[in-house]
């Protein structure tokens, strides 16, 4: 499934398009959630974030999204452009890079009278969706959904979608407009094997097509090798980062997950 490797850039960001976290720490009401987290993520690269529950995965995403305050810096260098530095809310050197976000589990009731078209239009256009949505916005939403092979979902109710279909709609939304960085929080949970395969194939298409950095969290270690260029093992700190093979074979990985299992804990 994987096609490109940005091996030549592995040494550092240099002039390349890259997201760089440096010494990121998050402290929420006295709890140290993240401590001195540093790593690089190149454009066109898919990185997987793994770690036990409560490791700070969602908080790390929230930092990149600018939804939580942190110490340290996050730098984004677009291809050929000057670096943009984000330090605790302030943006230096340009405008905040676009971050597409596919959240973990949006709450839709089965009975919610929100069609996919309503949802899409509400998020991407000014047209108030309590009025009938004009053809122009309908076509626009259909075009976005086509990217994720979901144009047939347009008139379905959000609450009636399957896990995989909902993921695709949210992915299409995160790509509108096409972001610099795409973040997916646990995109593989609640999705069947077929849906998982489809999603990963789509992500692979997207990164080649738009050269964007894709950063996702997952508990599904078995498939890591098939799609991720880089795996980051997080438990408050970065315990190990490298290729899927390197991380999965490391003592840190073994310690984080297997020893817990030995004690009768999770996973």
């Amino acid at each position: 499934m994987r096609k490109i490797k940005h091996g030549k850039l592995a040494a550092g960001c240099a002039d390349a398009c890259c997201l760089k976290l440096d010494g990121l720490s998050v402290n929420l009401e006295g709890d140290q959630i993240l401590e001195d987290v540093s790593f690089h993520l190149h454009c066109g690269e898919i990185a997987a974030l793994i770690g036990p529950n409560g490791a700070g995965k969602s908080t790390l995403f929230r930092s990149i999204l600018g939804q939580t305050s942190y110490k340290g810096t996050i730098t984004f260098s677009p291809a050929g452009g000057p670096a943009i530095r984000l330090a605790d809310g302030a943006v230096v050197g340009g405008s905040r890079p676009l971050v597409g976000y596919v959240p973990q589990s949006p709450s839709f009731d089965r009975g919610d009278p929100v069609s996919v078209l309503d949802f899409f239009t509400a998020a991407t256009a000014k047209w108030p969706v309590w009025l009938p949505v004009p053809q122009k916005y309908r076509e626009r939403a259909a075009a976005s959904l086509r990217r994720v092979h979901g144009e047939d979902l347009l008139d379905r109710a959000m609450g009636a979608l399957s896990g995989g279909q909902l993921q695709r709609v949210l992915l299409a939304l995160a790509l509108e407009p096409v972001p610099h960085i795409l973040i997916l929080d646990e995109p593989l949970s609640g999705v069947d094997i077929e849906g998982e395969h489809q999603l990963l194939e789509m992500l692979d298409e997207l990164r080649t097509q738009y050269d964007l950095s894709i950063f996702l969290s997952t508990h599904d270690f078995a498939t890591l090798g098939s799609f991720a260029d880089k795996v980051i093992l997080l438990n408050r700190r970065v315990l190990k980062a490298g290729t899927p093979d390197e991380v999965l074979a490391s003592p840190e990985f073994y310690e984080t997950f297997h020893l817990r299992m030995g004690r009768g804990g999770e996973r």
Binding site: P106, P113, D118, P128, V129
Partner: protein, 280 residues
Amino acid sequence: MELWYSLLSILPFDWAQPGQMYFMKHALLAVLVITPLFGILSTMVVHSRMSFFSDALGHSAFTGMAIGALCGFNQPTWAAVSFAIVFALLFNLVRRRTALASDTVIGVFSSTAVALGIFLSTLNGRSFTKFNSLLIGDVLSVDPAMIGVLALILLMVVILWAVSFNQLMLSAVHPALADSRGIKVFWQETIFSVAIAVVVTLSMTWVGLLVINSLLVLPAAAARNIARSMWQYHLISLVGAVAAGIAGLMTSYYMGPSAGASITLYLAVWFALTFLLRKK
């Protein structure tokens, strides 16, 4: 108003004839302004699970009336509106700062407001009975100036809906997703709750404190049974609210019961009907 009177004279009802029964003509116009307000706001109250919150606001509005009356204002309504706005702002702030579930925070606020209202209105052994009219409400006592105020509020709510409904809806669906798309979730929620506070307080005198929350819940609850999109949801909620409003007022005129209670009962029947027709 003259235009309204002459418009009505076309109708074949005895109260609609020119030169008489102005209270009924005013009441009908008031109902035609109040019910769309509730029909519209109802959609988001139900969608963002704020029905308990709007109920608490009704209680706080009563307390505001008591404070206004205690301070000797001629128009305790405006004291009540201010109090309800403070209540809504404070509630949003506390909800944001605490890990408690939102219904717990509402419970805290609601009970405090009710207790304060009863405490103030019965201070020095005063009788509570003068507030009884607030509990039931009387739409027949509405005057044209108040209808003007309510119409202005309706216009403002429609503008709010045109400008920020999309953001409000996304904030309710998924705050983090909304935030990632540049929506100021806290401000959306705050403005919406202030809008409910103003509408509930201003219409309480005419609809009645005991049934006002049903007007914020039933129209959208019924619409949810059968709507498949936001447009249908709004249309059904709005039509249901206005139809129940007119029917309720007529029942009140010809049979004598409180208009607020009659409207609510018609809405309950409407809910039952849509429930039977609900989408599978």
